[in-house]
């Protein structure tokens, strides 16, 4: 069964967090292993506070978790919401493929019925199947 309809309010939060390229890059960096704010800020020419803002969004979306150690609070990737997001796209794919199958059948039925318009009446009884 296609599960595309299942309500998952968190998914919007996940996608909102992922919509920003910097945040995606931060996540990609974290996929390679945990890192500190300073380490994460380095490739972006961004201030510590600016990066912290992004991290807060990611943390609220449940995409990362941060260590408790006061000085170096390493960030860590949390994979579950990302997996949900990827799964969701897959559900959409199945939804459309099934819809396309039905459209294919429907078009056949339609054209079988409308055959009189064609001069050659090869298939009088145009019932499908």
């Amino acid at each position: 069964m296609v599960n595309y309809l299942q309500t998952s309010p968190d998914l919007s939060t996940t996608f909102a967090a992922l919509a920003d390229p910097t945040r995606r890059a931060i996540l990609a960096r974290l996929a390679a292993g945990r890192a500190t704010v300073a380490e994460l800020a380095e490739p972006f020419e961004m201030s510590g506070p600016a990066v912290s803002k992004h991290l807060k969004v990611l943390e609220r979306a449940g995409l990362i978790s941060r260590g408790r150690e006061a000085q170096w609070r390493p960030c860590r990737l949390v994979a579950a919401p990302l997996k949900d997001a990827v799964d969701w796209l897959e559900e959409y794919r199945r939804f459309w493929e099934q819809s396309f199958d039905r459209l294919d059948d429907y078009l056949r039925e339609l054209q079988a019925k409308d055959k009189p318009a064609s001069p050659t009446k090869e298939k009088k009884n145009g019932r499908n199947k």
Binding site: S12, A28, L110
Partner: protein, 153 residues
């Protein structure tokens, strides 16, 4: 004798959904099936509640799932070029119209293949109306790395 071909591609670079299929029917008819409520409800399995087929017009459809649950899909038409292209937003919602899933941007193109029609459906997650250009790049390669990572979890 069915001359139908299939292709499904999930664009790896952008994490955008792309589905292509060739239908054994002329383009005008296929386009009608996507734009006229009477046809649409037949193959989509939904009841058309609202259908304002014009730029800026809204649409809303209702579907009862096999589980007996009610679901709605709705959005806004951004572009209608008969019989070539439809661009609309798409979102699953509850009965009150509140999104239950993120909004997506749906672009459906119809290519004339001489009595046959190639339909290409392009669905993007980040290309919502306001942020269309800004998010044109969609899911960058960084997400591919993430996807790989997820696969290992």
């Amino acid at each position: 004798m069915a001359a139908t071909s299939n292709a499904t591609v999930a664009e790896p670079a952008e994490r955008v959904l792309v589905i292509e299929r060739v239908f054994d029917a002329p383009r005008e008819l296929v386009f009608k099936c996507w734009t006229e409520p009477g046809h649409l409800s037949q193959w989509l399995g939904s009841t058309i509640v609202t259908w304002e087929l014009r730029q800026g017009g809204r649409y809303r459809m209702h579907k009862r799932g096999p589980d007996g649950q009610d679901h709605w899909q709705q959005g806004v038409f951004l572009e209608i070029v008969a019989p070539e292209r439809i661009v609309r937003t798409h979102c699953w919602t509850d009965a009150e119209g509140r999104p239950t899933r993120p909004e997506t941007l749906l672009t459906v193109t119809f290519a004339d293949l001489d009595r046959r029609t190639k339909v290409t459906l392009h669905q993007a997650v980040f290309e919502s109306v306001a942020a269309r250009d800004e998010h044109q790049r969609g899911w960058s390669s960084s997400l591919d790395q993430l996807t790989e990572y997820i696969a290992t979890v």
